[in-house]
Amino acid sequence: MKLKYKFSPNYHDSISTKGIMFDLLIGLLVVFAASDIYYFIAYGSSYGIRAIGLLISSILAAVLTEIVWCLVLKKDIKKYLNSSFPWITAIILTLTVQVSISYYALIVSTIIAIFFGKLVFGGFGQNIFNPAAVGRAVVASSFTGSVVADFVSGATPTSVFANEGWFAASNSAFNTFISKFGGLTNLFLGLYPGAIGETSVLVILLVGIFLVYRKVIDYRVPVIYIGTIFITTLIIGLMNGQGIWYPIFHIFTGGAMFGAIFMLTDPVTNPTAIPGRIVFAMGAAFFTVLIRINSNLPEGVLYSILLMNILTPAIEKMFDSHQVNSEKNNLKKVLISFVVGLIIVVGMTMFKLNYKEIAINTSALFALVK
């Protein structure tokens, strides 16, 4: 792929922000609809209706937050909303939570996502962090227990696998494990419990292709992200005696596809330079794999997105030069980043300690220090 830039002026592009956002909205609603249909069929109408209810309450909360903001700052509400698109954040956030979440948790997280994730930075286009990721982080840190018992849909593949330490004892052990969820094909189709919108790789891929065709998202980011995860986990898998299913499992689960298509591609929070975006996607992939394998958290996609958002200004600086002349230089920087990142991540996964052991030792340590 080319590392060249798009020559300015980019302002007179054939598509406008409004057009991009509208296509994105359609794409997200398609993912939601596919997911909701699955819930109706597999779990019953109460689940399907609840998902719709969650979506509506999140959108309302997001829009109301922005309306209040406009009122306080005395701005024109209609104009502001039309250029701020709070519903996109709300839909993405709803798609990343489980259907068993309580309304209160989702609404509070949406408000915090919109307010602290977007508005205080100056509104649309000025935010550092992906607002939906901020909202999801709030859910993960404060509201994991805030679920409604009637709608529990079962353990997700990532959490079960994470409990085993992210490595299966043998190929057949993995087969028994994955057959409980319907096999790898089922993971591809998305017919298993998980977050509302993250499960169906097939639907997300189709929507992703549509969005690339409509020039809504840059194809490089998701391709590099998924590709880097694949290569890294392939190497790690081979080093630990896992089969070819290991990297496939990594890219099919845990919202990696969803994050790749809908969250990492947010043009506000990723670098503008094309080699910058490539490094951004690679970094996110390395963080995802590292957090999944080495840490206590069951899922790494969310925090890898937020961490790379922090590094975006630094990446911009790295590629901030005469755009036309430094193509070779940029290629060198990208390759070096890839190799260094790969070595670090693969190296660190070799030193993974049993996390239960660490928990006991550190607590004993704190007991002494008290």
Binding site: Y104, V108, I112, F116, V120, V138, S141, S142, S146
Partner: protein
Amino acid sequence: MDRWKNFKSGFLDENPVFGLYLGICSTLAITTTLNSALGMGVSVIAVLIASNVIISALRKIIPDEIRIPVYIVIIASLVTIVEMLIHAYSPSLYSALGSFINLIVVNCIIMGRAEAFASKNSIIDSALDGLGMGLGYTLSLVTMSLIRQIIGTGSIGLSNPFTDDVIFNFQIIPTGYEISLFKGNVGAFLTFAILAASLTAYKNSKKEAKKK
């Protein structure tokens, strides 16, 4: 200098925490409960007044070249004494504040006021300045801890540090609806940002009003 104006400035205009951004480290860590916030605030007031008075009393004989080391000796001794007293008479407060009592030594408010005010003014003025700044600091801590405790745990309570008797304790937000984010470090930063921004907005609006 107008004593009253100076005393007042420690509360809002030159609020040490949200206006001058001094002593933030302990603010973020201590303000999880009202008890710790008050305990820390009172300790800081005590140290501030005592150090201001002593430094002001000795200001004519402290040689200029070594004034900073001398200030440090005085402040560090005062903080050590306060720490020992807290440990002996209020063990619950001691375990709540932990190592942040010792960090009062490097709390920039104390050194800052010693250098900027106490070394140049009379004892009474310095004492009042210490009280004003200390009260402003305590007010900021109490405000933050009220917000964080109510949103983060849903309840608000106060207990006597010397005897551990509960003075009052009631639940405002029902359990299950609190946002535990605010109990932790993230919530501390968010609350701090909101309060600092509000203070700046207030000061700006006052400036606008004055211009008109």
